[in-house]
């Protein structure tokens, strides 16, 4: 993945508006957080291959870290802390946020076909 180029990502998001797409949305601080630091909490959530259709999509940020909001029929999809992006298999838009050590903290993937197993 490479640092987010927000104009390119914005263009790709707009191309996906109004289409049925599959989403992977995830945040995690790892399964060892409270093992390594007793004051820390293990927190994480993911949803994989949820099928949605969004009518509005924006990426907004300060040049290093970005937020993405997708407006869907009955609500929103939101991710914060996104730093890097790539096009996987030439068509799947992958956005992720990594910490200083390169560990994944948040991910948002959008694809017109179901994401791999």
């Amino acid at each position: 993945m490479t640092p987010i180029e927000s104009e390119k990502v914005q263009q790709l998001l707009e191309m996906l508006i109004g289409k049925d797409v599959y989403i992977h949305l995830e945040t995690t601080n790892g399964a060892y957080a409270s093992h390594l630091n007793e004051k820390a909490y293990n927190v994480g959530a993911y949803i994989r291959n949820a099928k949605v259709n969004f009518s509005q999509a924006k990426i907004i940020g300060n040049g290093n870290s970005f937020r993405v909001g997708l407006k869907i029929d009955w609500g929103w999809i939101y991710a914060e802390g996104l730093t890097d992006w790539t096009l996987h298999n030439e068509s799947q838009l992958l956005l992720a946020g990594h910490d200083r050590e390169g560990r994944l903290m948040v991910a948002l993937h959008i694809s017109e076909t179901p994401l791999g197993e």
């Binding site: 390169g102 994944l104 994401l115 197993e117």
Partner: protein, 223 residues
């Protein structure tokens, strides 16, 4: 006692290298066959390499290759069980145990190494260990292998007492380190934590202090 065949049952690519590589190497040097049953491909790990070279969609393929390389370094047979990372505790435990039992009855090992349920920190470790112990429990008591369970939680010494088996694997540490380093996407992230704990510039020294002993509890079946 000379073992006939050792089966290691853990959920993630790299659990075998961090947790039991020295023990495995020792058995292989004695000519004892070792088979690793690896539950998942670790596809939900958050280490992506440092700097990152993997992403969530490529990680499963990358970790599969790393696992194959590490098992080649350790000279063990590998079977991948095909579950998904972080979901093992939500699978039907009996179903996982039945799958493991079938494999154990085929291999007929004298020793099974797995995680100690509820003292193994990661939910997949706890679930895989519980299923492995269930699998052995379902076997005919006369043909059950010995089970060594590995506890890694911070409270395990207080709660469980001293481990029954403590293998000093420092004589095999170069090879253990090679196996760990096969897991390129994971190794630096995990080893870096040891370096912080031990305040040394030498990653291998820090790793040896943290991972130079491999400890297990003998599981007692109550019937």
């Amino acid at each position: 006692m000379m073992e006939k065949h050792v089966v290691v049952i853990y959920p993630h690519p790299d659990d075998e290298s961090f947790g039991a590589a020295g023990t495995i190497i020792n058995y292989r040097e004695q000519g004892v066959p070792v088979t690793y049953l690896c539950g998942t491909l670790g596809e939900m790990g958050r280490n992506m390499g440092a700097p990152p070279f993997a992403n969530r969609e490529t990680l499963s393929k990358i970790r599969k290759k790393e696992l194959v390389d590490a098992c080649s370094e350790l000279d063990v047979d590998l079977r991948m069980l095909g579950y998904r990372d972080k979901t093992l505790e939500f699978e039907d435990r009996r179903g996982v145990a039945e799958l493991l039992k079938g494999i154990l009855e085929e291999i007929r090992p004298s020793l099974v190494i797995t995680h100690y349920p509820d003292y193994a920190v990661h939910p997949d470790h706890d679930a895989m260990g519980a299923a492995a112990i269930e699998a052995v429990r379902m076997m005919d008591p006369k043909s059950r292998p010995t089970v060594w369970a590995q506890a890694i939680s911070n409270d395990h010494l207080e709660e469980l007492g001293r481990p029954d088996i403590v293998n000093d694997v420092r004589p095999f540490f170069d090879k253990k380190m090679n196996a760990i380093l096969c897991h390129k996407s994971q190794a630096s992230g995990i080893l870096g934590q040891f370096q912080e704990n031990w305040a040394t510039d030498d990653m291998k020294e820090a790793a040896k202090k943290q991972l130079g002993k491999e400890a297990f509890y003998i599981w007692h079946f109550r019937e």
